[in-house]
Symmetry: none
Subunit: 226 residues, 2 copies
DNA sequence: CAGGCTTGTTACAGTATTATTACAAAACGA
DNA sequence: TCGTTTTGTAATAATACTGTAACAAGCCTG
């Protein structure tokens, strides 16, 4: 396999680390090891495709480490937890800090490998969104949330901007009113689907000629297509 | 609370189904149940956000079902397996057919819910893999619900699209009017079987030369065959 | 090959869905 | 706070979709 996956093992049991390292390496993975959470944080963690974290470690626990990785480093690298503890609460904590899987010791190497592969397979399709989208003479800046057409600013409201962005990110696909509501309106607000229509109408008017790129189709919803 | 995820439970233990249905429904999920793999295949499975499959079932096993779903229907909907069996080999079979998680009975509802949420959360960032069916110069995009012939868009209504999809997914098999009604019309609406004929006629007209691939046979129903 | 049954097609009407407008409520900023 | 902007609702007209009925054409079966 040309691009080998890099996996970081964080566990303070050196024996187990060695076993894992040997076995996973022979599966074709590229392995690095850290013997504590602190040591792990000293590495540039964004290099790895997957982290295997022991929950029970001297010093920082695996959960704590995962939390830092998610919240402070803001990384979305997949994480699998290893733990000797079997209680349900641990499970839940694990998933709450964004674990991708969870294995209780003792586990078989084959099972671990299977789960690693499952997690890596999932991750393959994630797509990095561009921050600026250009469509002919129309530009959306997702960071600044601004739109220009022929370099002229077009002032869209928040909802209008988000709908336009969503349609464009799914260019060519019809999105139902419900899907649009789900994504753009906060969960606790209850509004009618007609709202989507109204906002689409406003949007169409504001973006001039591009308005006709937003197609509406009975039973399907809306779609951007140019 | 717009975001209801639709989950299909496939298990032949009715009691368990009921318990799961009740508990998951009260978590805000929208639940459907099938008591066998065969019954599950009669549903349009692309409607669901997640499948919970029992491994051990009378008739088709959960693994077999998953395999069909992945390979024949070409769906990438997340799957979680439920099983009483704990052997490692089962685990591995599960992951090989593209399972997203695996739970051994008995499991706690809370754990199941946590795992469901983990799987659904993951799915958010994953770009849906295109589900496109190509038949000579005709292309059906099941995600976009669009049809093109020689790269020209063919605008089908929902019913027309669904009928065409259903026929093509069961290419070579005659589907009775009743089967088509059951699958495509919602349960509470009562309509005559003649409706199927009418929609088939419209469909045939819209898809031009491919119209003649939809064969009708007295007493059998309709079948797509090219 | 005739009669009854099933199927294909068309036209029409009822229903559902969508676009647009105007106005009111809510949120926002100075 | 007040005035402005944004957002939601309701009403309406326009459009699209779907079901029914009617009839023609096909197909079984005796």
């Amino acid at each position: 396999m040309s691009n080998t996956y890099k996996i970081l093992i964080v566990d303070d049991e050196k024996d187990l680390c060695e076993i894992l390292q040997f076995n996973l390496a022979s599966e074709g993975f590229e392995i690095e090891v850290a013997y504590s959470g602190e040591e792990a944080l000293n590495k540039s963690l964004d290099r790895f495709d997957l982290l295997l974290l022991d929950v029970m470690m001297g010093g920082m626990s695996g959960f704590k480490l995962a939390d830092k990785i998610r919240k402070e480093l803001n990384l979305s690298v997949p994480i699998i937890f290893l733990t000797a503890r079997e209680t349900e609460n641990d499970m839940l904590t694990g998933f709450n800090v964004g674990a991708d899987d969870y294995l209780s010791k003792p586990f078989s190497i084959r099972e671990l490998v299977a789960r690693i592969k499952a997690v890596l397979r999932r991750g393959k399709n994630v797509e990095v969104k561009p921050k600026v989208i250009t469509i002919d003479s129309m530009e959306l800046d997702l960071n600044r949330k601004s739109v220009t057409i022929e370099n002229e600013a077009v002032l869209l409201t928040r909802k209008e901007f988000e709908i336009l962005t969503m349609l464009i990110l799914h260019k060519g696909k019809y999105l139902s009113r419900q899907e649009i509501l789900d994504r753009i309106w906060s969960d606790d607000v209850i509004v009618t689907e007609r709202n989507v229509d109204v906002n689409i109408a406003r949007l169409r008017k504001k973006i001039g000629a591009y308005g006709s790129c937003i197609k509406g189709r009975s039973g399907y919803g809306y779609c951007f297509e140019n």
